[in-house]
Symmetry: C2
Subunit: 436 residues, 2 copies
């Protein structure tokens, strides 16, 4: 018997997971390579960052997911180079050959050429980002409680979120709930509800990818929760304790110790590695320009899917950087691989827009479901249901549901832990504050 067709999938996000899963009955040997040992349900990462859920609630160990899939193997490692001529991926300490390669390593955040902002404005892409942001937000309230100077207290109670896309909107909504509900009565010298939460967006409205009406609803809901929404506003500088914004030619300096970055995205470096090896074109953000079947030009055996792929819909619009395109592309590519092995082909990938959902707070969400545009409590329940059903492991569904029910009825959140790395902890407990 000839050795089976070897498929390597790099990246265990929504795209990669679906490729591997859909190949379970194909006559192939699949190797899934990821740097982390778990799949992360990124749409709920902001709830970890705001203490509503625990990391394990939204993470599924990859080996557990594919335990029963005999033709799949999980390799923990980081692909650094691709040798398209020799059909090999190169890891730090190993090389693996493939017949078909699928790259689904996604994007991280970028600071538009201002990487020096990163220490003061962490982004939200990983579990560690989420627990670091959680610690930063909770520590800000702690510092405000210790502070006796009014201006300095105010700076600790000012939270700036940069970027009014879904992540920024969701973070702002959750921060408002944290300040107004969860932390109520927790302090003796400050009122957490005095916190000022600013959401800054450079475009002329929040959720630029959504219909104008829903953007307005989202802004209205956030303002009712207490968020200060600033559209047409650009961040021009971030330093320790200060954010400078510019709006209509006016410059303003905001004193704050907590800036959260939910703005630009940047392609995974594997896009560049692929371009180096195959000459494929990248877009400005470093995403790979793929063919209509998600393959790479002149390399039909290499596919790029998910956020790392720049694939235009039939109407020429770029696909949104959310889970659905990655899932659908993953399933499509798996089908295409199986079809090719039977000597068949498939028509180009066709994206089926199932709609967009963003949640703002209790009973407040916006849903763009094609002709149906919803906001308010119905959108919120749909959001809840869709997210619960899509979490990969059944156990996580149960635990998230219970945790949410608890949070909902008690307006409390239990995962409010300030944890740190061992190195940080040895150095100090809290960031040094001026003496009161």
């Amino acid at each position: 018997m000839a050795s089976p067709h070897r498929v390597i999938v790099v990246g265990g996000g929504f795209g990669g997971l679906n490729v591997v899963h859909k190949l379970r009955r194909a006559p192939v040997q699949v190797t899934l390579i990821d740097r982390r040992n778990f799949h992360l349900f990124q749409p709920l990462l902001y709830q970890v960052a705001t203490g509503g859920l625990s990391p394990a609630n939204i993470a599924s160990p990859l080996r557990a997911v594919f335990r029963r899939q005999a033709n799949a193997e999980v390799v923990l490692g980081e692909v650094t180079h691709i040798d398209a001529a020799e059909k090999k991926v190169i890891l730090r300490d190993a090389q693996i050959t493939y017949d078909t390669l699928v790259i689904a390593t996604g994007v991280s955040h970028q600071y538009f050429g201002h990487d020096e902002w990163e220490p003061f404005a962490p982004g939200l892409k990983t579990i560690e980002d989420a627990t670091a942001i959680r610690a930063r937000v909770l520590t800000a309230f702690e510092e405000a409680e210790r502070e006796r100077d009014l201006a300095r207290t105010r700076a600790w109670l000012t939270f700036v979120i940069v970027g009014g896309g879904p992540t920024g909107v969701e973070l702002a909504g959750m921060l408002c709930e944290l300040a107004n509900e969860t932390l109520r009565g927790n302090f003796r010298h400050i009122n957490p509800a005095d916190a000022e939460i600013l959401l800054i967006e450079a475009a002329d409205r929040l959720l630029p990818g959504y219909p104008v009406k829903l953007s307005a609803k989202a802004a209205h809901s956030l303002e009712q929760l207490g968020t200060l929404v600033r559209v047409n506003t650009r961040v021009t500088d971030i330093q320790d304790g200060l954010v400078t914004v510019e709006s209509g030619g006016q410059t303003e300096v905001i004193a704050t110790h907590t800036v959260l970055w939910a703005a630009g995205v940047q392609a995974s470096p594997l896009g560049k590695a692929l371009a180096d090896s195959t000459g494929v074109a990248l877009d400005r953000a470093g995403r790979v320009m793929v063919e209509p079947d998600c393959s790479v030009a002149r390399h039909p055996e290499i596919f790029v899917i998910g956020d790392l792929a720049n694939l235009r819909c039939s109407d020429g619009k770029p696909l949104p950087g959310v889970a659905q395109p990655a899932i659908q592309e993953g399933r499509y590519v798996a089908k295409l691989i199986a079809a090719r092995l039977k000597g068949k082909s498939l028509p180009p990938f066709e994206y089926r827009d199932l709609g967009s959902l963003a949640t703002i707070g209790r009973h407040a969400a916006v849903a763009d479901l094609g002709r149906l545009k919803l906001s308010g409590w119905l959108a919120w329940w749909i959001w809840l249901l869709v997210h619960l059903l899509n979490i990969v492991q059944y156990q996580n569904r149960v635990l998230v549901l219970i945790q949410w029910a608890w949070n909902y009825f008690t307006r409390n959140r239990s995962a409010r832990l300030i944890t740190e790395s061992a190195a940080d902890r040895n150095a100090s407990t809290l960031p040094a504050a001026d003496p009161p």
Copy 2:
């Protein structure tokens, strides 16, 4: 009206929590100072270290616990010095005066003069310790899966636990379950059940604080699970990849990358700080020698409780370093403070031994309940019930119960995440391995 009597409680563990809670109706103003923003239910920490529970399941935010207790305030900070003459505690950036001081900062682990062992043999006292151990254990299986050399694979699959007290016994039991049940079918090149789990104890039996019969039962249960129990064995050296043990004059070198330290304890440095200020005597481990009412000699207004206190029972035996003495001392001291404010006094503290419990694995535990000594499934169910009922927050009880039920029926564990600090992550994904 005179300002109320000011009580400072340092440390939010079992002892400190109970002092504050029991003072809720006393005419005092209580300030609870802790370095961390949560109370940790330490008896279940080993379950976080082995992926069975999430950190938030066993941690309760202190501010949430005392939200409704109007006479209590929580201060996040680290007490570095005590000025007993001026009745002040000194924090890094503040000083707070007291009328009564209660110190309950517990113990950490110690390496018997071999601090150089610490990087290779982490102990288990904090949430960060637990997630670091979890990452180390899971990474060892990952490295074994990547490794092709038999001897090196064996070293990755060898786990050494130093110390046969309750923590060591519980860690060994959980590691066996992880290897034999949870990870079954997860790998393609190794069988996790081939892992060798060694439990090393210098005394002549496991659980030296327990009746001899229960020690034997515990050893038998562990051996049935697959643990290699080595009593009368001392660790003489730990290096990267190697542990040297000595038994009956024989020296043996064990190749392993995963050593967990569950041996000696060392008093919190606040014991020394208190001795510097009051001249109170410390024992060899740095614990404070307290009077029969938990107070410090010549300083009736200062109490030390919990693991940091060296208090002898009326029979002269030291109290065990578990939750019950701390809880009972905390309640006693709160009552004594309230009594004194009424001009009354109390008889010396009397420890009521409610028994000891240690769990080994599914349906296997040992319980020493005074005249009643149990092992097996009944002890296990008692252990489960006692721990569930004692978790501080109701929500955690529900979530832990569900998580346990899930783990029990599916033999699966979801919190198997390899997470790291941001600094580690940037440096590398996995510890560098030799090329295969």
